[in-house]
Symmetry: C2
Subunit: 403 residues, 2 copies
């Protein structure tokens, strides 16, 4: 039997992370936001920090640089230790996920020739980066359903820790080791996991990873991404995009390129100072809450989605698009319905914000810093009501759009 | 004979751009800021817009994307028409100057093999990008004093429109044509010109260019850069960094990479929405003032620096590090002195902010939107006074540092 709303509210009252919700700008409280897996909410501390940092630019001008210049490494260290299970000096915040993925894949390919491999269902930009790199370097490209069978002869494998549609959580340690047995290196994309799902890069033997900060890390639309390189590998790799922020003794400008030791060599251009402050505040909130507690709450909320789906939505033609076992599921639950796109439109009208991924995935994202049990309960209650009333039929099917 | 301070003040009173100064956050009015060629001031409109945009993120969340997603092209069009002498659809704002330079150089190299060429004195990151690309692609690298002699056999040439040290302004049209005669393409770096020096990309026959927005365009520390590709060339080029924001029908995620027509194919990852707003406000101010009027004022201010240098500083051991002819000079004047580094330190203590470039260049930057004739007069007056008193001797020589 499904939970009552009172029971959901009681779970919220007992939630040790409940106070974090008030640390975000909540806007219209009627609106239920289940798309923090696409774009996280604005932390109150970030709003204040950005205002201060803009003033700091105005006041300090170039004299601010000595304090700003270390932000890519400083925020990287915070991410490394507090969120990614890595060590200080193994992560920097810079550029976009796409650019960082390009940097690491190109650098890894220099260590040894071989095929570039990813799975058919991987996030599009990950596939596009590999397609481009394969064409440039004359490498074989393998975009396959079963990556493990494609490992012999591979050099670089790109995998998402959490699948952006199904929410399936990959076995990072096992797949990294399997690739290494074939002499291949995996670049993990943590965009849909870090901040809501425990990531233990060192423990899992991961050498290379990238990820975005505007989802569970709440750093704002288009905020800079991060990249991780295990310390042992750093000085063997060179970024394909050699820039002045990766140069040893940066302001002695007369010399040939000579990259700094360590992770800093993967910096390229001037770091985005204002955005980095937003990343720092977002990461701080996650670190303060603790990834373990966030995961516990995320699992509870996702289990509630599954339970209500089974009780209320299966009779209406829905099916689960995500794994049923929370041990292999990230922090969103996809539900599928032949009228998925239209249902999404009707849901948005009912002030529930999910998102949609082709062909029929309605993604319900759980951001454990601010999503409550009653949010899940109310969202699925509105959902069953509108489908029972056939409200989705007011909308036409459409194939693609911005979400 | 040098101008009197009253005469300088009279020139400011007659300045048609005088009212623009109040459009910036000025901070401590005792401080004279002559480093807008490194980091521009904060426009009041930008402060307000960023505050609003951060609120918009908080309120609208993913529903903001339909309005945000066009910013790289929209701000690019504003830059194209108002600042760069290009057409709409020829410029986008994205990534850093370094990353954009890499994209364009790699793409141009695909059109035909040959050497990569730049000049010894070019900005470091421009040289580093070419060094890296040459190593990856097995191309010959020519970093030479005289680029024109190195054109036979060249494929891609990178040149700065304004030299970051001397301020020398290159003859864009002539050099572009000279390179084309040898079958080579020039990628122009406009970082030290656009916004203060007229740039007429179409009229000069330029095919490829990049530039930064945090100097004369006042978009803030580490704000995103731009890139230009002449329309005729766009569909023949492919970005080496293939990302989902350059993909046709971006949200139909099942297909192989198929770049959009036009300049959008040079987008890679998710655009930095907050930063793009800062670029838009900065560019708007420049467009409103008009590049022609900005140039006129910039020349007058630079001529004042030269005149005061000749009258006051030559007797103190200074020499001019910039061209004397304003027709071949950008918007900063470098003066040289054997104790240049120590003099810079003493100047900063006297609340005059220049910057320093190895080995002995003191750069005095003129940002015609907010620099006044009296600022120049007072700065050079403080400079001659402190050197006459030997105040620079309190500082030790140093070789490199963050500025």
């Amino acid at each position: 039997m499904a939970l009552s709303r009172d029971e959901a509210a009681a779970l919220d009252a007992a939630d040790p992370l409940a106070s974090f919700r008030a640390r975000f700008v909540l806007g219209d409280e009627q609106r239920i936001y289940l798309d923090g897996n696409s774009l996280g909410r604005l932390p109150v501390a970030t709003r204040d920090r950005l205002r201060d940092l803009v003033e700091e630019w105005g006041e300090r001008l170039v004299s601010g640089w000595p304090d700003w210049i270390d932000a890519p490494a400083r925020v990287g260290d915070l991410l490394a230790e507090g969120v990614l299970g890595a060590r200080p000096g193994e992560v920097i915040v810079s550029d976009s996920t796409t650019v960082n993925l390009y940097k690491l894949c190109a650098a890894a390919l220099e260590l040894g020739a071989g095929a570039l491999v990813t799975d058919t269902g991987n996030f599009p930009t990950d596939r596009y980066v590999l397609e481009g790199l394969a064409a440039q370097r004359g490498a074989e490209l393998r975009i396959v359903d079963d990556v493990e069978r494609a490992l012999p002869g591979a050099a670089v494998v790109v995998l998402s820790h959490v699948d952006y549609r199904s929410g399936e959580l990959a076995d990072m340690e096992r797949l990294t080791a399997a690739a290494r047995e074939h002499g291949a290196r995996v670049v993990w994309d943590l965009s849909h996991s870090a901040g809501a799902v425990p990531v233990e890069l060192r423990a899992a033997g991961v050498e290379l990873a990238v990820g975005c900060t505007y989802k569970y890390l709440n750093a704002g639309p288009g905020a800079p991404a991060y990249l991780y390189v295990a310390r042992e590998l750093q000085d063997r790799l060179r970024s394909p995009i050699q820039g002045w922020f990766g140069q040893r003794d940066q302001f002695a400008m007369e010399r040939a390129y000579d990259p700094v030791e360590g992770i800093g060599r993967f910096l390229a251009g001037t770091p985005p100072v204002i955005d980095l402050a937003a990343v720092e505040e977002g990461v701080r909130l996650t670190v303060e809450a603790g990834v373990g507690r966030l995961r516990e709450k995320s699992v509870a909320l996702c289990e509630l989605i599954v339970a209500l789906h089974d009780a209320w939505l299966v009779p209406l033609g829905f099916s689960l698009g995500s794994p049923r076992d929370p041990a292999v599921r990230g922090s969103h639950v996809s539900i599928r319905h032949p009228e998925g796109w239209q249902i999404c439109q009707a849901l948005i009208r009912a002030e529930v914000i999910p998102d949609f991924r082709e062909p029929d995935f309605i993604r319900l994202g759980v951001a454990p810093l601010y999503t409550r049990h009653v949010d899940i309960w109310d969202a699925l209650d509105r959902l069953r009501g509108l489908v029972e009333r056939g409200e989705q039929r007011r909308y036409e099917a459409a194939r693609s759009r911005v979400t």
